[in-house]
Symmetry: C2
Subunit: 506 residues, 2 copies
Amino acid sequence: MSTEPTDPTQAFLDRWADIAALERASAVLGWDQETCMPPAGQASRGRTLSALAGLHHEKLTDPSLAELVEQAGAVAERGSAAHAQVREAQRCIRRATAVPGELARRVAETQSRSLASWQQARRDDDFSVFAPDLTEMVSLTREVADALVAAGVAARPYDALLDDYEPGMTEQDVAPVLASLRDRLSPLVQAVADSGVVVDEGVAHGTFPGPAQEAFAREVAVALGYDFAAGRLDESAHPFSTGFGPGDVRITWRWLDDDFRSGLFGVMHETGHALYEQGLPAAWDGTPIGGAVSLGVHESQSRLFENLVGRSRGFWEWALPRFHEAFPASGDVSPDALWPALHTTRPSLVRVEADEATYNLHIVARFEIERRLFAGDVDVHELPELWDATYDELLGVHAPTPADGVLQDIHWSMGAFGYFPTYTLGNLLSAQLFAAAERDLGQLEPQFARGEFGPLLGWLRTHVHEHASRYPAPELIERATGAPLAADDWLAYITRTVADVYGVTV
Amino acid sequence: MSTEPTDPTQAFLDRWADIAALERASAVLGWDQETCMPPAGQASRGRTLSALAGLHHEKLTDPSLAELVEQAGAVAERGSAAHAQVREAQRCIRRATAVPGELARRVAETQSRSLASWQQARRDDDFSVFAPDLTEMVSLTREVADALVAAGVAARPYDALLDDYEPGMTEQDVAPVLASLRDRLSPLVQAVADSGVVVDEGVAHGTFPGPAQEAFAREVAVALGYDFAAGRLDESAHPFSTGFGPGDVRITWRWLDDDFRSGLFGVMHETGHALYEQGLPAAWDGTPIGGAVSLGVHESQSRLFENLVGRSRGFWEWALPRFHEAFPASGDVSPDALWPALHTTRPSLVRVEADEATYNLHIVARFEIERRLFAGDVDVHELPELWDATYDELLGVHAPTPADGVLQDIHWSMGAFGYFPTYTLGNLLSAQLFAAAERDLGQLEPQFARGEFGPLLGWLRTHVHEHASRYPAPELIERATGAPLAADDWLAYITRTVADVYGVTV
């Protein structure tokens, strides 16, 4: 037999390779399912993914692995990468071990049933079709959260859920940030509505053939730094990005023929995600700290490239000549004329179609509702009413049907409570990182105007990507920006933007 | 915890699901690697596949699995499907357990090295670059074969190798069949060369745009019965088919712009493979007997559709109007005028470019050489000379360089000795099955001429596909055709064909 490595960190990392391989295989099968798999492959693919998940759980909870990790922990120097490997491994192991197999099995079963009844409820536009399974899902998720608290993963149930997506963040960290957003954004959005200003979006409309949109989007992605030798672009029903190590990070997109914004900003968003994954250090590939550190940090990269780069005047000074070349039928338009059409703001019902300014109010609404759900202040059957009241209050809109209201998101049907806040954390962090990068690099828009996106990407590589999960997200954010996560930079950005487009300030 | 099933067969099949999932995941990753994966993903993909292979070995050799299988075997009724499940499971377990882990690791390491030096040797056109690694590969493969013999997998080392690809077949079964081919084919090919007849292949040449070739090939595949809702067609450097259960069976192709035969017959070949996999019973998906029974039977399906259907006059009576529609620039041609260009015969150097008649002589050559290698009659450094002498004798051709001679195939570099005969077994069986189908269904070519491919496919479903690995291949062949595998039907077919095209008989 091959000799066991004597370095205890290497010994557990060797064992971790199996866990990484199972995760990676599932990720490739997931990508394939969304982009390539023929419809008749569905049932068998489901069984395969479920078996891989079981094997992953088995390997992660193997007591001999925990022992190897502990041995490595005993000798790892505080602050070293080895120490971080042990920390992350123990976090994963602790989460996996805390949830009894029987509970995990019931969650998985309820997820499939709940997903189906959510889909049915949307088709029927009837929340009551979904309510029983959602009640069960909430109850099981609470059991999971309690088990995680009992295992010391987090101090309180909602924190235990949040920790799955945003390790190290607690409700107590998130709540004041979201409250400050709520306080500032609601009046801002109201002021825009009251301003009576209507932005002419005609410059964004026209006929944009799919192949030309794809060619243009590819040109933009390459300019931003996306490496097609380590990636690819495909069509899918819902755009996403997925990475199988820094050498293989794929993005997908869809587009509208009559409005270029949907396809282009979708690609720029996914490119932001993908640049993060392509920038992860190859040396840590397949190790506990080798992946992205949190969903919030991931979303900060996508939002930064989509919004702070992609909707900037500087970017369009560089992009417009290329845009006119790609779409000769589009009229000649200046960055200043285009700019307002990239920053329209109006209260809307559906989160995934929301604009920059209102988007975070959709998240605030969900955060407030799911907090109350997990605090036991509200029952599932009260959700539709609570949803409508919250939207009335925050956005001043009222969904005519539950399909556009409380039933619009898939997350709760999967038991993904604690997930929504990461979207807003990402938005806020994108502006905080952008501001920090400008402190180091000077104003970025003039650089974009010259097609120079390299300095920004280089800065993100050095301050975010290269660290993968070496530091917990809160520490990474402080190291990169000099401060804890806060709403200030983003609020300054959105206030400036809205003032510019709508002439209103709050 | 979930309760254990009380049916002992179900108990071991539940455990087998993990093994099937690991195989399937590797297969999807393999397909992705050939069709989608960006180049920079190579290294990480290699590590993932290697880890999955390790997990597969671990699961397959877990003593508790063997115990479950034994318990199932104790109660399975002889002749039942459960009995076949036990037989197949034990075969897989015995093969996996027989080879010590350390030996398997050395084989895997030597494979990578040997593959690299084979590629280098081809570039340098120098066998001596490859010889040391090939020597090591032969020696390790012999160790593996000895271990398999010691474990009772087969009686003799070469049989143990053959058994991996063609379970139940032995050198003693194969040798007389290949000898009869050799005796009949060599003079036939010589007679063709002496005839002086030159077939006009101009009808197959022209300009065939890729998209039109693809549309035509898809139309043909659908007509033969390939279900695109359970499959897809992609481009790849080397055409192949791969199945992830009957609901997801994919084919790939490539084409030449100036000769339609390469692309079309490639797709028909892979369609034959894919029809087999799409016809496997869904109920056995992911169980030991759920897959194709042997490489030879697999190849019989591809060759049947490629050659006995695709090169028949009947097929072209149906296909030619569609062909002319797909390629309006092609001149009007009759099935009789096209037919000789689909059956040209000439001795050639390279197996993968060989025609129907000469192809099996390439296999006979390899079979004779590798038998002598494993009998210890010949050393690796003597291979180039032996290769040239064998080709001189069988085909009357002499490779100007080793790259077109002894270095042309990848198989030996991977240690895949015993693989080549399955190609010929498939060729022979295709004709034997075709003849048996005609005994039941009447003459098939008139049916093809009317576009009726369903009866043939239905017959193959009933007699081959639906049985998956329920019966060992030799038994399946006897059940389907009423006789053991023999060369007679194929020899009758090729003799008739050659006589028709070249006017020669032997």
